[in-house]
Symmetry: C2
């Protein structure tokens, strides 16, 4: 029997990027390069799945080994990402068929899709339609999301670094406001990401620890905002400590269930574009309690802060990229490498295979027992979960005082179809 | 002739704190400890100069050598700071006399005041009134301000670290927005500190370098805002690069000279409390150009970010603390250790003695030739100045994934006067 010819792989980054998604890209590319008899070239989608739909593929074989290694230290999406959601198989039939047309033209036998809930769903549907159309394909999802809301996996690559960033930032700001509180700022408000799940908000609470106690009030998206209870709590903390820190989720909701910071615009997924609850909460403190405040909105800074990435997160991000290739080579299809926690102390983890049917479109919220009974803090259980994800430093190389991040050549693959496709 | 008895020193932190002001404190305390025959104890003011006025002194001799060494790695004011301005000698006579009363009661022979323009003025006035009242005192100002607006000194301790933070943050956010720009965010706005002088705004421009080009538009407090020119420039950058980054000073002013983000509240110095121009500028971009935006306001995060401090800044902060003690021992009075630049490449600097009469109440603005002719960027001259200040990393120790910062015992000195004083 003749040996099968190696087939090419297609890798794409989806949705909001992270400080470590490129570590997953490095894991995919470096691992594929070790299996040259099985995998030909790794093509990447320019600007995510749109690159596949428009046949705008990047040939990663044109990048040096050094450049791919440097990806491990580079934040954001090296090939570009996109917010472009493929819907149901019927509704988006033209897109799915076009994907397979492009895959066939470039002999793509492996599809690695690096994203969150939405892209897990897309990955699953691509696997289904390929099977239905008798197109041989191994479709593997590579988990990524700062929101930490994917099912099955214990945690999501990208989250540990945001957790480390927001906890460090809150601790630093707390030292600042504590210094100033006698005559000036008494309340500091930090707004963080996390649309529907309070994982990042919970991480802010890690700034407070047994050896560095800090008064922190957390406003989770899971806990409807109660103005009277909140202001009373802040007032009590200021009276006891002289100052108070507040961590608030961009997705804070009122008792009516409505987002308190609705900016009025929506992203391509139909989600509301948020931002601005931090200053609102600060203004409320001033109005109700009269305390001088400062507020910060970290926004992209929190998810792009590769300079402060968690080493655990970097290692896991790389590991899921590597495992995705190995799973595909082992015949895995419509699956995702999940991180499984073996133990908290010492922290041990391993990669296991999860079926995408259990991951797609499921949103894992912060468990109620991670939030203290009063609704404004984190429990010991939350601390045991969050702690290990933030451990370890893995600084990028610095040049002239600034992190030196990699920019790839991103050489285009010659088009074989060259037929237009509107996205 | 009998040897003179050692006299005590008083050290206080003033105004907004920085990531490295405690390195100056460590410089003062460690150096004083090496001259025990000349300097008795170093007392610190609890919450700055207010601690002296209310006779609330901290005995730093109760702190271990290890704790003082750790101060070098700890952001914010370890003894507390305050915003409390002493006015003219006539207007604030009661305060100045009270200061000397407390100094006399505790045999303070050395006064080290760690702050910006306002505290340089206070330090000078304390020297003057001590002389007038025949109280023997060496009053030395220790420079500190993230605003980098002190005269005589080439740069101010605290600034280099903020510069490194804002440039790193903008570079990281730029990589993020570049990844997303195809279908989502095209304009990212970062609001930074710097009330009247655009030094920090200029530092944002360092995110863009020859080997990492980034389209950045800067809005300096020195350049009146011109909506039409600004939006046209952002539009051109988006059309050329696919995205655009904007760094805006909290102190941006309109053509009428008025602050564009006047929050309506004022601090104890009578300065307006700012914040909020970032979202305003982002909203304007959306309204005029229709581009999707994100914005961040770093606020205290930028000046407290010890995890990303500039090593040059840490070394200089320590050096001015050490030099202040040495100057005082050499008989210096009403002076300040200034940083003098010897050369740009290689960067070399030394400490020189500056008269406080040349420093007090003078505000050093960003030179016009540091700003490009169009008013939206920085020149090669600015780069040559800013570059060396950001160089080098000096990370704090980490524990459990977070920086471990020092909290001192801050043991109170027994009161000798115990007379009330209202501040």
């Amino acid at each position: 029997m003749p040996k099968p010819k190696p087939r090419n792989a297609f890798y794409a980054q989806s949705g909001g990027v992270t400080a470590v998604i490129n570590a997953s890209a490095a894991g995919v590319i470096q691992t594929a390069r070790r299996y040259r008899t099985r995998i030909g070239k790794v093509y990447a989608g320019r600007n995510g799945i749109i690159g596949a739909l428009t046949e705008d593929l990047i040939d990663t074989s044109k990048e040096s080994a050094r450049a791919i290694t440097q990806l491990r230290y580079t934040p954001a999406g090296a090939f570009g990402s996109c917010r472009y959601k493929l819907k149901g198989l019927e509704e988006s039939r033209a897109q799915y068929e076009r994907l397979l047309e492009v895959f066939r033209a470039h002999d793509i036998g492996y599809f690695f899709y690096n994203g969150g809930n939405d892209s897990a769903d897309t990955c699953l549907k691509v696997a289904q339609i390929a099977e239905k159309m008798d197109y041989p394909l191994q479709a593997v999802h590579v988990p990524k999301t700062v929101d930490n809301d994917l099912a099955v996996t214990d945690n999501c690559p990208g989250f540990g670094s945001v957790a480390k960033y927001v906890a460090t930032s809150m601790r630093e700001a707390a030292f600042d406001v504590a210094s100033m509180a006698k005559t000036s700022t008494k309340v500091f408000v930090l707004e963080v990401m996390g649309r529907n799940a309070g994982w990042i908000t919970a991480a802010v609470g890690m700034a407070d620890s047994a050896d560095t106690p800090i008064p922190i009030v957390l406003l989770f998206p899971e806990v409807p905002f109660d103005e009277a209870k909140f202001t009373a709590l802040v007032d009590a903390k200021v009276k006891e400590w002289g100052y108070c820190c507040v961590g608030v989720s961009e997705g804070l909701r009122g008792a009516d269930g409505k987002l308190m910071a609705e900016a009025g615009t929506k992203d391509a997924f139909g989600h509301a574009q948020l931002g601005g609850i931090g200053p609102q909460i600060a203004g409320l403190v001033k109005e109700r309690l009269g305390y001088k405040y400062h507020w910060a909105v970290a926004d992209y800074l929190q998810r792009a802060a590769r300079h402060l990435a968690s080493k655990t997160d970097v290692l896991q991000s790389y590991a899921v990229g590597k495992a995705a290739v190995e799973m595909a080579l082992a015949g895995g299809n419509a699956v995702m490498p999940a991180i499984t926690r073996v133990s908290d102390r010492p922290y041990r983890w391993k990669i296991t295979e999860a079926s995408l049917t259990k991951v797609a479109n499921v949103e894992k919220k912060l468990p109620r027992d991670f939030i203290t009974r009063d609704g404004y803090g984190i429990t010991a259980k939350a601390r045991a979960y969050l702690g290990p994800l933030m451990v370890g430093e893995d600084p990028p190389p610095f040049k002239d005082g600034l992190p030196r991040y990699e920019r790839l050549k991103n050489v285009a693959v010659a088009k074989k179809l060259d037929t237009p496709f509107e996205v």
